[in-house]
């Protein structure tokens, strides 16, 4: 009796398991599939919001914020950053070279391609990272990644890419895929004493209020960086916001040039491929 029940039970279990799609640990990352699912998810959440509009983040979900933003953008607060950034970009280094000599296409209209994966170093390179590499290669000190003047320079370079579709690539190499997957894991991992992940606010609660702010969806969220935040009173990079987000969930932030942040930027920006660069942006 018992043996028969056991056999029946085992057969049922086996059939059930076979029918369930099991995610095999160690399955090869499929960034393209992730990206498709990510964009489809938000389409189902906000069916009437056109894909390109996601780059305006919170302004899609609050009329009063949008109206204030439209007024502000009549005279953009990041204008000083742009002017300073342009000046920095065009100034030659002491050795006679300039940023144009290091970067593809002379550094103009390239922001949509970053972050990119550097097979030689096996690391993700952000636009700011590429700028610093250029500086170091030409005998200059690297700039701090979070605030001005790096934010000014990146603001100008991003401005020259405005409207271009984000075009981050994840090559089919083990190291690139590992960096991508690491960024994806970081995005969904809960951290800090408040036990929130990036997804907690920017996927689960996207479009809703968090105290006085409106949470932007993760889709398109990198497109308007660097941003002039009214809260900061100046322009800051994506990394600056990562540090702030960590602090807000009561987690000790990483160093600005950490692999965590670079890989996170890689994953996050890749999810928004196809959306137009909108930076530099203005946010509350």
């Amino acid at each position: 009796m018992i043996k028969r029940d056991f056999v029946i039970g085992a057969v049922i279990a086996a059939v059930a398991l076979a029918a369930m799609p099991i995610a095999h640990a160690g399955a090869k990352p499929d960034p393209a599939a992730d990206q498709k699912a990510f964009q489809a998810y938000f389409k189902s959440r906000f069916p009437s919001l056109p894909l390109a509009d996601y780059v305006d983040g919170p302004y899609n979900f609050s009329k009063s914020e949008r109206d204030q933003w439209k007024q502000i953008m009549d005279f953009p607060p990041y204008q000083f950053s742009l002017d300073t950034g342009k000046q920095m970009f065009e100034t030659k280094f002491p050795n006679g070279k300039s940023y144009a000599d290091c970067l593809p296409n002379g550094g103009i209209g390239i922001a949509q391609n970053y972050p990119m994966f550097d097979e030689k170093t096996g690391q993700v390179v952000t636009l700011a990272g590429a700028v610093n590499q250029c500086r170091v290669d030409n005998g200059l000190k690297p700039l701090k990644l979070t605030k001005e003047p790096m934010a000014d320079l990146v603001a100008y370079m991003t401005y020259t890419s405005r409207g271009k579709p984000i075009d981050v690539k994840v090559p089919d190499s083990p190291k690139a895929l590992a960096a991508y997957e690491h960024g994806k894991e970081y995005f969904y991992t809960r951290r800090g004493q408040l036990n929130f992940s990036c997804a907690s606010c920017h996927v689960q609660e996207a479009g809703k209020h968090l105290r006085g702010d409106v949470l932007a969806p993760a889709l398109g969220i990198t497109a308007s960086f660097p941003v002039y935040r009214s809260k900061w009173g100046n322009t800051g990079t994506l990394v600056r916001r990562f540090v702030g987000c960590n602090e807000q969930v009561r987690s000790v932030p990483d160093k600005p040039d950490s692999a965590n942040y670079r890989d996170l930027a890689y994953f996050l920006t890749y999810m928004s491929d196809g959306l137009p660069i909108a930076g530099p942006g203005a946010r509350p």
Binding site: I72, D74, F75, P77, Q79, F80, D83, T84, G233, N234
Partner: protein
């Protein structure tokens, strides 16, 4: 110094609209730096907007105004080609100014 004041003036139906973004730290004197030391007060005290030399708006700003103040105001009068001049003085006695033509 370059980039101190960005301004734009347009006229429509006899009403001129002036917008200005003034670069200034506007430190109130109440904020401490990371080391715990007070950042000394440094803010614009008075700003004047003039049409062809005649003052149309005086702003008495002071420590309650935030960094890089943006102003926008309208007044009856002015025509295309007229000069709007902007000048400020801060609590340390520094001054700056600029001129733009009404579009």
């Amino acid at each position: 110094m370059a980039n101190q004041i960005l301004a734009r003036a347009t006229v429509s139906g006899g009403v001129t609209t002036v917008q200005a973004l003034v670069k200034h730290p506007m430190d109130s004197g109440f904020v401490k730096d990371k080391a715990g030391k007070i950042i000394p007060p440094h803010y614009i005290e008075v700003i004047e907007f003039a049409l062809n030399g005649k003052v149309v708006l005086t702003g008495f700003w002071g420590p309650a105004v935030s960094r890089n103040p943006y102003s926008k105001f309208m007044f009856k009068g002015g025509k295309s080609g007229d000069t709007i001049s902007i000048a400020w003085v801060d609590n340390l006695g520094k001054k700056a100014g600029t001129e733009v033509k009404i579009a």
